[in-house]
């Protein structure tokens, strides 16, 4: 028996996915927008970075299906109702169950068979000596440490083959679908570099297979201070990163769009008020504002502890609040750009012509202004996304970020502060966080570049 748990952030992320789906469905009607998007995907970089982002989003979606497991009934309990564990799990936890459940006692290096720290042990004769103990789970199936290299190699080979086979299934299906489409005489858009997509999918599948199969026997990214698997932590942190990027961007958008466009369009006192607000807001140091708000929320949680009976609920609330605060403090840039662009666009002849036709303000904004500033919004969305992912890491590092209970790259980096000063250095935790975050941010930035190329009227190709 399980009890589904719907966190607020889960709800938001699924609404967001649904609305993106709806937007794409709407897009089918607009040939020009369709052409531009296919321009994004017909570039190799765009395609590859999109697939990487998609993989991250998929993981975070899996991690957003939460539930509580029922506890085994106590023998002497007379209650009929089922008791549920206070530990909220996600579907991803089930997938990674082997990673989650095999903790060590403290640090261990990647692929290591021994612990990182010496311990007192007793040998067969009963005398006490100090040495690096064997790990409970990492490589425990090996009898001899020398077998490790061959074992890893052999298992890697198997995993790579498995990964290829798994990747072959969707690729084969897709090729079959394309062939069927061609047979029916439907002209398919052959400018899309499917081979890049295939290579990407295969690579991702191989890496995923390799990690999953090897991590059953080793800690491939080592363990942290309390012996928890680092790979597990960094995968769990994906949800935090992706969510903070999307949700915080989502908060900035309505503010920036409504205020920016109305300032540029109506001018006069509206413009004055909006400009006053954003000049004031952007002259307050952002970190200060965020730190103050986070402290406020901490106090709120303390005083309303009855509302947050689960740790997950508490950290989720804090996380959402952080998204909100990040969004509220960083809409000024986009707002300013939109105001300037609207000022420019609203002076163009076609807007004047619309006025001459007596078109209402709402329609002028909706039909003439908004579509012609969308490129700015789209570019800002993708750029802000990577900015927020990085901002989360910075905030968690200085201690005003997400709840310490929540897995996040920022928290991992924060922990690395002391790890990096040890001798020998504990490098794997910070490296894992760095690599995963770097991949996501790089993919998002590359994708934003492609979006900019396709949508910015100054660089758009093949458009007069």
């Amino acid at each position: 028996m399980i009890l589904p748990v719907l966190l607020w952030s889960d709800l938001l992320i699924y609404t967001l996915i649904a609305s993106v789906g709806l937007f794409l469905w709407q897009l089918r009607k607009n040939p020009q927008a369709k052409k531009r998007w296919s321009g994004v995907f017909s570039s190799k970089v765009g395609m590859a970075s999109f697939i990487v982002i998609l993989f991250y989003i998929l993981i975070s979606l899996l991690d957003s299906l939460h539930f509580r497991e029922s506890l085994p009934r106590l023998e002497n309990s007379s209650h009929q109702e089922v008791a549920y564990s206070s530990d909220v799990k996600s579907v991803l936890d089930k997938v990674l169950i082997r990673l989650n459940s095999r903790n060590e006692s403290t640090y261990s290096a990647p692929f290591s068979l021994h612990s990182f720290a010496k311990e007192n042990m007793t040998d067969a004769n009963g005398s006490v000596y100090r040495d690096y103990p064997r790990l409970k789970n990492g490589g425990s199936h090996l009898n001899d440490a020398d077998e490790r290299a061959w074992d890893v190699l052999w298992r890697s080979l198997l995993a790579i083959i498995a990964g290829m086979i798994i990747a072959a299934i969707p690729i084969g299906l897709h090729r079959y679908y394309l062939a069927r489409k061609k047979e029916k005489g439907l002209a398919s858009n052959n400018s899309i570099p499917w081979h890049v997509a295939y290579i990407c999918v295969t690579l991702i599948s191989i890496i995923a297979c390799w990690m999953l199969s090897l991590s059953e026997f080793y800690h491939i990214l080592g363990t942290d201070k309390v012996g928890e698997d680092v790979l597990y932590q960094s995968i769990k942190a994906i949800r935090t990163g992706v969510l903070i990027g999307t949700l915080a961007t989502l908060v900035t958008l309505p503010l920036a769009i409504i205020l920016g466009i109305s300032a540029g369009y109506f001018k006069g006192w509206v413009d004055d008020v909006v400009q006053y607000i954003y000049t004031t807001l952007s002259s307050i140091p952002g970190i200060l504002l965020i730190a103050a708000s986070v402290l406020l929320i901490d106090v709120y949680i303390e005083t309303h502890s009855e509302q947050f009976n689960l740790t997950t609920l508490r950290s989720d609330f804090k996380f959402l609040a952080l998204c909100g605060i990040l969004g509220l403090t960083s809409w000024t840039g986009l707002c300013r750009m939109l105001r300037a662009e609207t000022l420019k666009v609203s002076q163009l002849d076609y807007v004047q012509a619309a006025h001459a036709f007596g078109v209402s303000h709402r329609r002028v904004i909706g039909k003439h202004i908004l579509p012609n500033v969308t490129h700015l919004i789209l570019i800002a969305i993708v750029l802000d996304f990577s900015m927020f992912v990085l901002a989360e890491a910075v905030l968690s590092y200085i201690g005003v970020g997400v709840d310490p209970d929540m897995y996040s790259w920022g928290n991992m980096i924060n922990a690395a502060r002391s790890e990096l000063s040890r001798d020998p250095v504990v490098w794997w935790s910070v490296s894992a966080a760095f690599i995963l975050m770097f991949t996501l941010v790089l993919a998002a930035n590359l994708f934003s570049d492609e979006v900019r190329n396709a949508f910015d009227p100054n660089t758009a190709k093949g458009d007069a």
């Binding site: 076609y350 001459a356 036709f357 078109v359 009227p457 458009d463």
Partner: protein, 533 residues
């Protein structure tokens, strides 16, 4: 003058962009002291030819074959360093836009000095006199003081003079002038052309004049070459060319110039629009409280009326307030005072919603066919917009019919409805703009320079279309233009505007043949006309 030796000789020049051939074997010779005019419409490859001579082509374009011989040197065989000494020193260039060719943060004295120092090694002592002499030569008033001015303090014509002075600074043998007067007003254009002509004589300079304006050619050139689609299709000396053009395209170019002695009779019907003492002032504001301390008087007391089925041309140079006035009638600009009476009803002072019914009656066609249509809307949406918001036609099926009929009427196909503006050329876009204005069945259309962004031959077609539509529908036109040459063919009456006031108005024949005001006389004299020599 014509017997002198050849300065520049271009032979069989080909320029490619990828696999696309843009200049297809151009050959011509320029003699010393000659003005050689290269004429053609936009996209004919005339600017590319001049850039290839200078070896200044953008990287995507390559010269694939041909040779350019300048003063016995083959330019395509020189190294880049050698070429640099030819550029500027031997061949100088002036561009269309003097605004963008001057550095805005340096005084013109500094910029001129730089050129002089680079090409002629003059000691600092003689520099000042040399600069003053140069400015004097290009007819700059008060040259000593002007040397300390910044480009933004100069007018467009003065900037072009500075550009010419810069080009002359290194005493070139050939001057390449790429549309040197297109961005200037008629009266200024006249001065610059005269300056070029004088310099040519005093310095025995050769000039390669690139232009699309046959009037300028007729007045200036010794030899004419007509370019079309990357080829020179006709080349002759100026007199023979205009007396007896050989190629059919040249004939069309010459004929597309409206004749200046063919006037339309003024029509006598009741006025549809009466404007009395219209003032459009923009407040100058200052301080935190945005206190008004003065006004910029863009339009300062203008009175005229437009009769039913008549075209009134408002003629004036840039900055004379003619566009501002047009927008004020459309209520796109605020009116300071005065009255606008449309069909007996006072429009000034009506509220936004009270004015809405009149939106239908007064429509507008803008100058720039590229910015006047929303690039994200299909032609259907563009034309339909006014009909929907002004409730001209509620039924979608009838709207579709009207739109198809309109498109056919303006010379496009009904299946163009679902295309987007960027798929059309400038002339076609202007036709769509006309269809859009006509869709709401207006009684007055304000045409704000609808042809100034178009090529000559297309300009003629669009004007012809407007004329026909006026005869069919009896619509009145308020035609705002800076181009006097199209007025006789088009307008029943003319009003000449200068500095926000109308200095003269009357029937076209009256104004064009017997102008009273001296400004009108100056304007008329400045128009480059055919057969003037």
């Amino acid at each position: 003058m014509k017997t002198s030796q050849t300065v520049l000789s271009v032979k069989n020049l080909h320029v490619h962009a990828g696999s696309l051939e843009l200049v297809k074997g151009v050959s011509f010779d320029i003699k010393q002291g000659e003005i050689f005019a290269l004429v053609g419409e936009s996209g004919s490859g005339k600017s590319l030819t001049s850039l290839s001579i200078m070896r200044l082509l953008p990287e995507v374009l390559t010269i694939t074959s041909g040779s350019v011989v300048f003063a016995q040197r083959k330019l395509f065989e020189l190294t880049e360093t050698q070429m640099n000494s030819v550029r500027g020193k031997k061949i100088a260039m002036i561009f269309q836009e003097p605004q963008t060719s001057l550095n805005p943060v340096q005084t013109i004295g500094v910029q001129l000095q730089e050129v002089l120092k680079l090409h002629q090694h003059i000691a600092d002592a003689g520099l000042q006199e040399k600069l003053v002499a140069l400015l004097q030569e290009v007819g700059m008033p008060d040259p000593i003081a002007r040397l300390k001015w910044y480009p933004h303090q100069l007018s467009g014509g003065q900037k072009q003079r500075v550009m010419i002075a810069m080009a002359l600074a290194c005493e070139p043998e050939l001057l390449v002038a790429d549309e040197p007067t297109t961005a200037l007003d008629v009266t200024i254009q006249r001065q610059i052309l005269e300056l070029l002509n004088n310099l040519r004589k005093s310095r025995n300079l050769s000039v390669l004049l690139i232009t699309h304006d046959m009037g300028v050619v007729a007045e200036m050139a010794d030899t004419v070459a007509v370019m079309q689609q990357g080829k020179i299709i006709e080349q002759a000396d100026c007199q023979t060319f205009f007396a007896n053009p050989q190629h059919e395209y040249s004939q069309r170019l010459i004929n597309s110039l409206p004749k200046s002695d063919d006037f339309i009779d003024a029509c006598e019907s009741e006025p549809i629009l009466e404007v009395k003492d219209l003032k459009v002032w923009f407040a100058k504001k200052k301080g935190i409280l945005q206190r008004t301390f003065g006004h910029t008087k863009a339009v300062d007391g203008v009175s005229f009326n437009v009769r039913k089925g008549e075209t009134l041309a408002i003629v004036g140079e840039s900055g004379s307030g003619k566009t501002t006035m047009g927008k004020a009638i459309l209520r796109l600009n605020p009116v300071h005072s005065g009255s606008i009476v449309f069909k007996g009803k006072e429009l000034n002072g009506l509220s936004h919603s009270e004015f809405l019914p009149h939106r239908r009656d007064i429509q507008v066609i803008f100058q720039d066919p590229f910015s006047s249509m929303n690039p994200r809307m299909s032609v259907r949406e563009i034309i339909e917009e006014g009909m929907v918001s002004l409730k001209v036609e509620v039924s979608a099926i009838k709207r579709e019919k009207i739109m198809c009929a309109l498109l056919t009427r303006v010379g496009l196909e009904p299946d163009h409805l679902d295309r987007y503006p960027h798929e059309f050329s400038g002339g076609q876009r202007q036709r769509i703009a006309i269809a859009r204005a006509l869709a709401v069945k207006p009684q007055l259309i304000i045409c704000d320079e609808p042809t100034s962004a178009l090529d000559v031959s297309i300009r003629g077609q669009v004007l012809e279309l407007l004329n026909e539509l006026q005869q069919e529908t009896g619509v009145s036109l308020l035609f705002i233009t800076h181009d006097l040459s199209i007025v006789p063919h088009l307008a029943h009456r003319v009003a000449v505007m200068k500095d926000g006031v109308i200095v003269e108005q009357g029937t076209t024949e009256q104004v064009m043949t017997a102008p009273v005001h001296e400004y009108t006389q100056a304007l008329l004299k400045a128009v480059p006309a055919l057969y003037s020599r």
